[in-house]
Amino acid sequence: MDDFMSKVESDFVRDDIPEMKPGDKIQVHEHVQEGSKKRVQVFEGVLLKRSGSGASAMITVRKVSSGIGVEKTLPLNSPKIEKIELVKQGTARQAKPYYIRRDRRY
């Protein structure tokens, strides 16, 4: 039965996603629609967590924008994501490094 699930999901699971771990600094290039205009928005931040598996995997990216922490959670395999780039590998040892929220270095 699982084979059938992965068969359906395989069409959605993207293979152009770089290998990345929580704590890494990444850039998410996302298609956004503003009125009738379409453009690509770049969101650069720390990968805070990955959740889910297969087609429904999600990522949460965190950045500090003018002193305020902003977290964005989005489907990893969404066609709305143009590409994801790995900027810098991080040093987090946890799978969910929530301490980043309190860490002044980030």
């Binding site: 039965m1 059938f4 699930m5 359906v8 297969g54 429904s56 395999n77 969404s78 066609p79």
Partner: protein, 207 residues
């Protein structure tokens, strides 16, 4: 007619062309075989009896063996009948599978829900219950069920605790997102009743 049987495989996310993600259910539906065709003349109505899922002959009862032999059909585990307008176009032994559906079609899916066992009135009927704290002594009980001397009994059909779930439910108007004839898979938008492996009836709405 446009109907078949299948099994729930599981749920996942499906990305539409717009980039939107929707919840979707994968259904495995091996081709069903038409066992018996019912006609107006003989049976009083037009219908088609479908058999789903191969089984071994020795597992059948004698009457069932006779039934399958009569129509030269392979032994099947499940038999379901659908009424049709015209039974002329169908014949015993004909196979019907997911090929009859196409992406964008609307279907109704019937199956038994998950059994929940003996449940109270809050879960079973959605009663609000009382406050948990602030000195309340009324929590999840059904409350008053009758009145006074008149009628002097509990009315029939009163919502009370009891066996919940494992009932036949039809989810209507589900959109077919994808049909995979190679693997006999059907992907529909939304959820369908029951646990994984549940036997489902899938019927087109266009009739």
């Amino acid at each position: 007619m446009l109907a078949t049987l299948g099994e729930k495989v599981g749920m996942t996310q499906f990305f539409l062309d717009s980039g939107e993600a929707v919840g979707a259910t994968v259904i495995k539906s091996e081709p069903s075989v038409i066992v018996q065709v019912k006609t107006e003349d003989r049976d009083g109505y037009n219908g088609v009896q479908l058999g789903y899922k191969d089984t071994e002959r020795h597992k059948l009862t004698k009457p069932m063996k006779g039934h399958f032999d009569k129509y030269n059909a392979p032994p099947k585990k499940f038999l379901v009948e659908y009424q049709v307008d015209d039974s002329e176009e169908y014949s015993s032994g004909q196979e019907v599978g997911v090929g009859q559906f196409g992406a964008g079609d609307r279907v109704d899916v019937t199956g038994n829900t998950k059994g929940k066992g003996f449940q109270g009135v809050v879960k079973r009927w959605g009663f609000s219950g009382g406050p948990d704290t602030h000195g309340s002594r009324f929590h999840r009980a059904p409350g008053s069920v009758g009145m006074c001397v008149e009628p002097g009994r509990v009315l029939k059909g009163k919502k009370l605790p009891g066996r919940t779930g494992d009932t036949r439910v039809t989810v209507q108007n589900l959109e077919v997102l994808r049909v995979d004839e190679e693997e006999d898979l059907l992907v529909v938008k939304g959820s369908v009743p029951g646990p994984r492996g549940n036997i489902l009836q899938i019927r087109s709405r266009d009739d």
